[in-house]
């Protein structure tokens, strides 16, 4: 079943046609991604512009304001314009990269987002690479020998880690390795991305950031890799009964070679899509983990926005997070087509 509008379209059009329909395929995927982004904008507009009862009241909360000032602010925010006009202004501004003005930082949301993008990419990137490596390896191992002791331990551990809130795991790791309990001394820094007392450049800075990165990325890996184990394990088990594996064994290949050369490449395909589809989890992980460790990324920015609540900032992070997931899904569709000849042939 096609998951997106355009996927169905591409399928219907592409029947019987071979490689030549790459461009229409990419085009339809791109169109679907754009539609998704527009829907995100509509949802963002409804959430942040239509639903709050009185933005001016929230904005001026706790400060004495005269009636004239209130009218002035309403005029500035364009709150008296018709809804469609406000929506068009909002879409236009977003496409230009103007995400509004943060109430608490007194700074444009776009510049705040840009500042925080690097740390988030560093953290989620490290965590993704590590958890994919760990998750796929464990998943292949436990799927190939499902029911074995190794499988039961791996599956049990992933289930336990899945059942735990990310932020709680973060706090426990913080107590254990940063504050130190009992015989364990304080090993790692508690929060932030670097020690302000050290120089902010050169080799010392890299080592310092790496030290700060250990606990946040460990927390994210522990929560995320469990998903990959489950996905990989299931698709290995799905491949197990396939006749081509019997053929491979009949040729006299060792068990190891059958697994590595024949089962894994086929089982990897559904896993790749699932991994991309689970990117939303990574975003959630970034928000909770960065909040616990005060890691100065987009997730922590969301946390800071929530405390006020700073609606323009929240809207900005919502749009950025949604856009990144949409882009990743688009990438997944494209990559998948190159990986799986069967999709191309369809």
């Amino acid at each position: 079943m096609s998951s997106l509008t355009a996927a169905g379209l591409a399928k219907a059009k592409g029947q019987g046609v071979k490689r030549s329909d790459l461009l229409p395929y990419l085009g339809s995927k791109l169109a679907a991604a754009l539609v998704s982004f527009m829907v995100t904008l509509v949802i963002g507009f409804v959430l942040f512009s239509l639903m709050p009862a009185d933005p001016v009241r929230t904005l001026t909360r706790g400060r004495p304001t005269s009636e004239a000032q209130l009218v002035q602010i309403r005029l500035q925010l364009g709150l008296d314009d018709p809804i469609w006009q406000r929506f068009l202004t909002f879409v236009g501004n977003t496409l230009k990269g103007e995400l509004g003005y943060s109430w608490q930082f007194q700074q444009s949301v776009s510049s705040l987002v840009l500042d925080r993008l690097g740390p988030t990419l560093l953290l989620t990137g490290t965590a993704t690479v590590l958890s994919i490596a760990l998750g796929l390896w464990l998943g292949i191992r436990s799927g190939w020998r499902h029911g074995s002791l190794f499988d039961r331990i791996a599956s049990g551990t992933s289930l336990m880690l899945w059942s735990v809130p990310t932020f709680w795991l973060g706090m426990i790791l913080l107590v254990a390795f940063s504050v130190g309990i009992g015989p364990i001394p304080s090993l790692l820094p508690a929060g932030g991305m670097s020690d302000p007392s050290l120089p902010q450049e050169g080799w010392a800075h890299v080592v310092d950031v790496a030290k700060h990165l250990v606990l946040p990325s460990l927390t994210m890996v522990l929560v995320v890799f469990a998903q990959y184990v489950t996905v990989m394990r299931t698709s290995i088990i799905d491949e197990m009964g396939s006749p081509y594996l019997l053929t491979a064994r009949a040729k006299g290949l060792t068990d190891d070679a059958v697994r590595r050369r024949h089962a894994v490449p086929n089982a990897l395909l559904p896993s790749v899509t699932m991994i991309f589809m689970h990117l939303g989890i990574l975003v959630s992980g970034a928000i909770t983990v960065e909040s616990v460790y005060s890691w100065p990324g987009l997730g922590y920015l969301t946390y800071e926005a929530l405390r006020i609540p700073d609606l323009p900032l929240l809207q900005g992070t919502f749009i950025v997070f949604s856009a990144s997931v949409i882009i990743m899904n688009l990438l997944a569709d494209v990559v998948y087509r190159f990986l799986d000849p069967r999709v191309r042939a369809q």
Partner: protein, 299 residues
């Protein structure tokens, strides 16, 4: 399942048989039974909590325990910053955490099933539009959406519940739609149509009972993730600041410096409570899934 629907005229007898067969099969799955046991224990504890926990133990002004103390006599799990017993707080917190989880799941399942049934039954433009809406919601990252929604709706249990439901109904909707399509292809639906059954009657009397087992499985798993989401949203400061839930305990601990103080006795219990309940629902859900779907044997 099939026995129950092939003979709706024979009333409850085959349905009863199917149910007892289901129970016997479920009883053979030790993991599922263990999960059920954990859940029953927590449920009973949450229900009887008002018998031994009152305002005297929960009101920060009335309590007289040591502040942020490790486990001592009379406080088996230690105390929080205000001197309240962590054990009693965890038991009390189970009430709201569980009820938010269950209510959010009920909302999710009703919303998801309704969309799924309609999309599966009306395969024309109504179904197409509903599936597009579902796909758009799937593409959105759920935590930022839930955070934004409950921030806009204001702090409190109600807005958290709504936020959870709005972000998690899509899985149920897709599942129910797929199953509805499968059921509607069967001959007995055609028979019902020939005999003059309307759209509503087909959906409610014929399709829904067949989709129900699947909804049951997915809802057990939904409770697990709803409880996790509740804890996360409350921890991020979106819950009612005056109520005691597992999420709000962890938030209070975090903001109150329990981490820096190394107060593991304060941090562990709420997290372990969440772990046990989520694990319980997941184990029960998986066991039910295995019982209802014989093809899953060996997984």
């Amino acid at each position: 399942m099939s026995a129950a629907t092939n003979a709706p005229a024979a009333l409850d007898v085959p349905r009863h048989h199917a149910f007892s067969r289901f129970c016997r099969a479920f009883a053979k799955r030790p993991a599922g039974l263990a999960g059920l046991g954990l859940l029953v224990a927590f449920g009973v504890l949450a229900l009887v909590a008002p018998l031994f926990i009152g305002d005297d133990q929960l009101n920060v002004i009335k309590v007289d325990g040591p502040q942020l103390s490790p486990p001592v006599d009379g406080y088996p799990l230690g105390t929080d910053q205000a001197g309240r017993s962590v054990l009693l707080l965890v038991i009390w917190g189970s009430r709201e955490s569980l009820s938010i989880g269950l209510i959010a799941t009920a909302l999710t399942v009703v919303l998801g099933s309704a969309v799924g049934l309609l999309a599966g039954h009306y395969q024309g433009w109504i179904g197409k539009i509903l599936m597009h809406v579902t796909d758009w919601f799937i593409a959105l990252p759920s935590l930022p959406l839930a955070i934004s929604l409950s921030a806009v709706l204001g702090q409190g249990a109600a807005s958290i519940t709504i936020a959870i439901a709005v972000t998690s109904w899509t899985a149920t909707a897709r599942l129910v739609r797929a199953q509805t399509l499968a059921v509607e292809a069967r001959p007995f639906i055609e028979r019902a149509k020939v005999l003059g059954a309307g759209n509503t009657q087909i959906m409610i009397r014929h399709v829904l009972p067949n989709v129900m087992p699947l909804i049951l499985v997915s809802s057990t798993l939904t409770v697990a993730s709803a409880i996790l989401s509740e804890a996360t949203l409350t921890f991020l400061g979106l819950g009612d600041p005056t109520s005691v839930t597992w999420g709000s305990m962890l938030q209070a601990a975090f903001l109150g410096g329990a981490v820096t103080a190394g107060a593991w006795w304060y941090l562990m219990p709420p997290g372990i409570a969440i772990l046990i309940v989520v694990l319980g629902f997941t184990l029960v859900g998986r066991a039910v899934e295995h019982v209802l779907n014989p093809r899953m044997v060996g997984r």
